[in-house]
Each structure stands twice: as structure tokens, then as C-alpha cells.
Symmetry: C2
Subunit: 415 residues, 2 copies
């Protein structure tokens, strides 16, 4: 497939991708959009110009909106048809390729748009589905000999997070203040977090409302997932270790989480399916699944200090996940918990076996014991003020590349 | 104060109350409303008939809505003025009392309305702020000698809950299925929950959006709280005890929570302020507060088996809370976590010292060891299918009664 829009061969936004997002165009108006190469395309205008007229079920201009929720809610038959139509329109020789007026009006350079939150997120859940991450944390915080808790291999452990503080890539994050209890103190102290961390995650977004009491099986789960984003679950480790018993992380997490602006559909990720790690012991029936439910997605994390250059500090892969998305969703709904359009379900920190693939500073520096040395000579045990953390994600196979771009955020000093 | 609407002296909905809710009137239309005695009053109609014309800041008919959010967001200067205006209009001899046509059109008997969710809840947090409850749970699940964890007296422990499954009183709740691990089993089993419980709680509702990075002090907190509801945080104890380490309760809670349809304002509760239990050790500065921040609110829990009568099984009081609302909100925002209009913050189970005041079956029957005997002779260790659990809440002092009515829910068998 070749597009009439030219782009570099290493672009995440190839003709094979066709992701969805929401942009402010020219500081003037907001609309849903897609991206090819470095061009952002106004889908609301394409709709108005009748380019989507033959798509059944697309009866109003859902792209004229501040979020993707209305579009997503139309479900796979419509959203897939729209994506394929966009792909067709972007091909060399298409009707659109010959419509110079529309190309001039609907296509924008990156610097003419500002990406905003792609979806309104009614509910956010964070899983804990990387066995390497859970093991590393268990070794550090609990018992090296019994790092995994007894339930971990029987269910995808997860917890509810805070939806209000999920922000789009590029939004600054305030270093949180809070209670911490230094190991040698007899009571807690208050102040800015001293162990600020990122968590390298991916997340999926739900396309349907279900009723309380309904279950979504592993077989039906993919049909309920519109697509994925890259996700940074910022974490305050010193606040977390003091507050988290017995009800889980709270203020250590809810000061901010960052998402990539582009949602890549499961359909675009189809070529990159791969097998899951073997699950032993065998899981209960409702968690069983058939076929390849993982995806081979390369992940990178960079730290850029103020006035310094980007330092690659982690290289991981989504395929390491022990629990896959269909299992996470089947588990989440097995008790009848209802889903809402736009719900975001994050993977939990994605770490691999190799220490270079660990998905948090906690693991990379082993709780600060082995600091990372940046290219400017500075040490990092955790994230410092004015550091920018950037995560990149892309899949590549047989010359086809589909990526997410990045999720980036800068830590600013406590007010 | 005497209203022209007659009601029993033990009504929760006296002229001193003036709560807010949302109703379907005559199966025909939805509007925000208040209640006096057994009359539900359509506020959208009163607005249209110019009864609120002199209230500054009330520039559109926010009562013509499916939720109270728009009204609440106007803030205390407006919402308090509206409440006082309604109170004035309901007095004997008021202009409204002489407007027979409006009384006929705007006042409905209880059986002509169906109450629906009063607010859209963007975010839900559950605290754990009763020392008696936390101590009881710690004794049962952990160590009787060290029942409270080290952080408990230093911060109001809390966690994020699921907003999507919060439903209004009267909505049936499905018994959840899930994983449980019987004490004598070597691996988990799957099936309907066998230890279904209620949690007697109250919750407060936020009236403002804040920015990430902002803090709400204990001094400012009450200004950010519109009012309170009675809250039943249904819990599956057997699912909970297996899943909850290390990230907290998840499927044990998110299958459903129930709220009362009436939101009682903090201003209506003003006469019932009372002192808090002494906090020892002293708390950190950001958790200090001045004045009486607790409220003396009587609480009752009833179980009604199918075809049986209501059994009073617990009598508690909101004043037992160790951590008050201003502390909960100051803690929640001290890290810069942003608030949204309609956010619901629940107290956690409210237990007193007396075993008859325990706020859950877990505590009342001490994990099933001491079953409750109902008036029909049946035993209850936990909640059975087709049992209805009802919680009532009211404050009363010097002949003034202000109450919440009830939150009620029936457990229906797993599908």
C-alpha cells in the first residue's frame, strides 16, 4: 500500500496505522482526526464533504466533537469501516488524492495542531500483569524468596485508579507533596515526594456500555476494545510505601497519569499478534482463551534532563505481559461490573527479564541502589524536577510499521 | 418554622431539611426536585414560574436536568440561596402557599415520582475512617494484638472505587461471581460469592472542579462540599480476602454500591455539628482543623428477608468517625489530585464501640461466628439471596429533625 502523502519509512503513522485522536486545529476549532506521516487530517471536514457517505451506521458527524467517545461507541462494524475508508482515501490515486481543495483544507502540518485528550475516561483501572515487574516489586518490598503473592498467578490483580488526573502527553506534572515515613523515623514527615517514578504501561479503551450483571468473556473481549494508547502511570514511591496497606496505592498515583494522544486500533495491531507466556498453574475456565492474544510492541523510555539530551534508559516489549487484555477484561466483568465507553484499562508496569527492560526507576536502579548515569554525567535514582520522561511504542514486521508516537511529561517543582 | 405542607413530626423531610434530588415525574419528564414531608416538588417548574428570579447567579433553569451537577457547580452562594428561598416559599403564609395552581402543578405525591441517581459521579473514593471498623477488620484478618496498621492514625486511609456501578436506592444488586480461596483448599475456586456483606457508610458530594496541583485545606473543605448521602458499599468478603493483596479491594466492591436519592446539604446539617474523637498521636499540620467537624447523625441498618419483615440489626452514628470530612478532603488533594463536580467521597464503614453499632455483617456476626437470628427464625451470617438491606439516617435535636430517608437494595441470585 502506498499513500499519496509522503512520510519516512520509520514513521509510526504509516498507511497501515490510521490512528484516531482529537486536535485543536490552528487554535481555532476542535475535531477528531487521524494522522499519516506528519500530516493530521480533520475527519469532521471529510465527513461534511461526504467522503464517509457510504458507511452504514455513521449517521451524523461524530467527528465534530471534543472526544472520540461518540465515534467509538458506534462499535467495530462502523469504526472499522471508517478506518478502512480513510486508508483507501489516503492511497495513491484515490479520489481524495485528486481533490486538491480538500487536501488543502483538511490536512494540517504537526505544528498547526495541538493534540488534546483523545477520550473522556469515565473509569480507569490499572492492572499489575507483568510477572517480571510484580516479582521485582515483591523482592524489594516484601520477601525475595516469595516475591509473588499467592493470588498473582490465579487472577490478573488490578485496582481502581483516578480518572480525573489522566492528562494528555505534553502536560506538565506537579511533583506531589505527601506523607512519607523514612525508615529511620518513628513518625511520618510531610514534604515533596523524593522518590518520583514513572511506570511504563500500555492501556486499552472500551467501546461499549454494558449493564450491571453482564460478563464479557475472553472470546468477546476484543470486540469491546477500540484500541490502545501508551500510558505513564507516574508514581510516588515514598508516599506509596507508607500509605498502601491495606487498601492499595492512592495519593502515590492519583496526582497524574499521562496518555499518548493517538489511539491505535486493535485492527492496526493485527499483524503483530504473538503468543503469550505460558501460564502455569492452569487458570480457571473464565480466564482461558484461544489463539494469540499478546502483541509484539516495542517500548522505549527516555529521560531528558533540563537543557540536556534524551537518554534511552529502558527497552521493553508489551509481549512480556503474563495476563493479556482478554483475560483482564473477562476478570474485570466476571462479577458483573459494568463497562462504560471510554473506560481505560492499563496493563501495569511492563518489565522484561533483562534488567535493561525494566519499566520503572524503582526496578532500573533497584530502589536507588544502582543509579543511572545520564549522558551529561548526572546521576538518577528517581526522577528529578524538570526532567522530561518520554515513552515510545511501535510494532514492526515485514516492512510494516505501526506506532503510537509518544507519551511525554515534564516534572515541575512542587508549588 | 411551620410549612403549609403538612407532615408527621418524625418526617426526615421537615421544613428544616430541603434536600435535593432528581425524579421522573408521572413517568413523563425528569427534573431536579426537593421534598417536604411526602411531597416532591418540581424545581424546574418553580424556576419557570419566576419563583427564583431574585437569586443572583441562577441565570438558567439548571433544574431542567437529569442530574444535580449543573446546579451544584454554581457553588454555595447560589445553592444556599436557592435552599433558603425554597424554605421561605414552603412556609405557612408564603406567596407560594397562596398559589393553588402552582401547588397543583409542582407538588407530587411520592407514588407519582420515581427517584433516580441524584448526581453524575465522575470519581468515587472510599475512605476507611472509623477506628472501630478498622480495628475490628484488623483483628479478624491480621493480628488481634496489632489490629491497626502503622499508618492508620496518621492519615485517612482511602482508595479509589468504581464510579460506574454506583446506583440509586431501590436498584437490585446481582450477587457477584468470582474467585475465592477456601481456607482448606490448595487453589482458588470459582462461583457465586458466599459472604456477601453491606457496609454502612455516608458520603459527601463535591461542588467544584479544581486544577491539578491545587490543594483544598481543612479550612476550605466545607465550602467544596455540597451535601451528603447515605451509602451502602456492598462487599464480597470471600472475593476480597483472596484478591486484595497488594493493591486493595477490586471485584469485591465494584459489582455495585447504593446511594440514597436525597442529597442533604451541609447547611441543613449545621445544627447537628459535634466534636470529633480525640486524635492521638497529633496529626501533621495539613490535617489539623478547628471547630466541630463531625455531625451527630443516627444510622440504622435493617435486613428484610423475602416475604418477611424488617429486622433492625445495627444502630450506629456518623459522629464516631475518627477522620472527618475536612481531613479526608485535605488529604485527598494535598498531592494536587484534582476534584470534579459530583465526585463522591465515602466514609468507610461506620462502626461504634458497642457491638450493636457495627456497620457490616462481617463485624456483627464476627465473620459468621455469631449469626444474627431474624424475627422469622432464620439465621444470617451474611446476606442471602432476595434479602433487602435498608439503611436509614437522620439527625434530631431540640425538636428539629433532618434526615436522608433511606438507601435500600435487594440482592438477587447470580444469573
Amino acid at each position: 500500500m502506498k499513500s499519496f502523502v509522503e512520510y519516512n519509512s520509520n514513521s509510526d503513522f504509516s498507511i497501515h496505522n490510521i490512528p484516531f485522536g482529537v486536535a485543536v486545529f490552528n487554535k481555532e476549532f476542535i475535531a477528531c482526526c487521524t494522522r499519516i506521516g506528519d500530516q493530521v487530517v480533520d475527519l469532521a471536514l471529510l465527513y461534511d464533504l461526504s467522503y464517509f457517505d457510504d458507511i452504514a451506521g455513521l449517521d451524523e458527524n461524530v467527528f465534530e466533537a471534543y472526544t472520540l467517545n461518540e465515534f467509538i461507541e458506534l462499535g467495530k462494524p462502523v469504526t472499522n469501516a471508517v478506518r478502512l475508508k480513510i486508508q483507501e482515501l489516503l492511497l495513491d490515486g484515490s479520489i481524495l488524492s485528486k481533490d486538491e481543495k480538500t487536501i488543502e483544507d483538511a490536512f494540517y502540518d504537526l505544528d498547526q495542531v495541538k493534540m488534546i485528550m483523545p477520550v473522556h475516561i469515565p473509569n480507569y483501572t490499572d492492572f499489575y500483569s507483568s510477572i517480571e515487574h510484580a516479582t521485582n516489586v515483591g523482592k524489594m518490598f516484601r520477601d525475595p524468596a516469595n516475591a509473588l503473592l499467592p493470588n498473582w498467578k490465579h487472577l490478573p490483580v488490578g485496582y481502581h485508579g483516578r480518572a480525573s488526573s489522566i492528562v494528555v502527553s505534553g502536560t506538565d506534572i506537579n511533583r506531589p507533596k505527601g506523607q512519607m515515613k523514612p525508615a529511620d523515623a518513628d513518625k511520618p514527615v510531610f514534604g515533596p515526594c523524593k522518590q518520583l517514578d514513572f511506570e511504563l504501561e500500555m492501556a486499552f479503551i472500551i467501546n461499549q456500555n454494558t449493564e450491571m450483571g453482564e460478563n464479557v468473556s475472553t472470546k468477546d473481549a476484543e470486540n469491546a476494545i477500540f484500541g490502545m494508547v501508551v500510558f505513564n502511570d507516574w508514581s510516588a514511591r515514598d508516599i506509596q510505601s507508607w500509605e498502601y496497606v491495606p487498601l492499595g496505592p492512592f495519593l502515590a498515583k492519583n496526582f497524574g497519569s499521562s496518555v499518548s494522544p493517538w489511539v491505535v486500533t486493535l485492527e492496526a495491531l493485527e499483524p503483530f499478534r504473538t503468543a503469550s507466556p505460558t501460564q502455569d498453574p492452569e487458570v480457571l475456565d473464565y480466564l482461558k482463551f484461544e489463539g494469540d492474544k499478546n502483541y509484539d510492541i516495542n517500548l522505549e523510555v527516555y529521560i531528558q534532563p533540563e537543557n540536556g539530551e534524551e537518554n534511552l534508559i529502558s527497552e521493553s516489549n508489551y509481549k512480556y505481559m503474563y495476563w493479556n487484555m482478554t483475560q483482564q477484561l473477562a476478570h474485570h466483568t466476571v462479577n458483573g461490573c459494568n463497562l462504560e465507553v471510554g473506560d481505560l484499562y492499563a496493563s501495569g508496569t511492563i518489565s522484561g527479564n533483562d534488567p535493561k527492560s525494566y519499566g520503572s526507576m524503582l526496578e532500573l536502579t533497584w530502589r536507588g541502589q544502582n543509579p543511572i548515569i545520564l549522558s551529561n554525567g548526572q546521576e538518577r535514582k528517581f526522577i528529578e524536577d524538570n526532567d522530561t520522561v518520554t515513552m515510545k511504542a511501535w510494532a514492526e514486521k515485514d516492512g510494516v510499521r505501526v506506532g503510537f508516537g509518544e507519551v511525554s511529561g515534564k516534572i515541575i517543582p512542587t508549588k
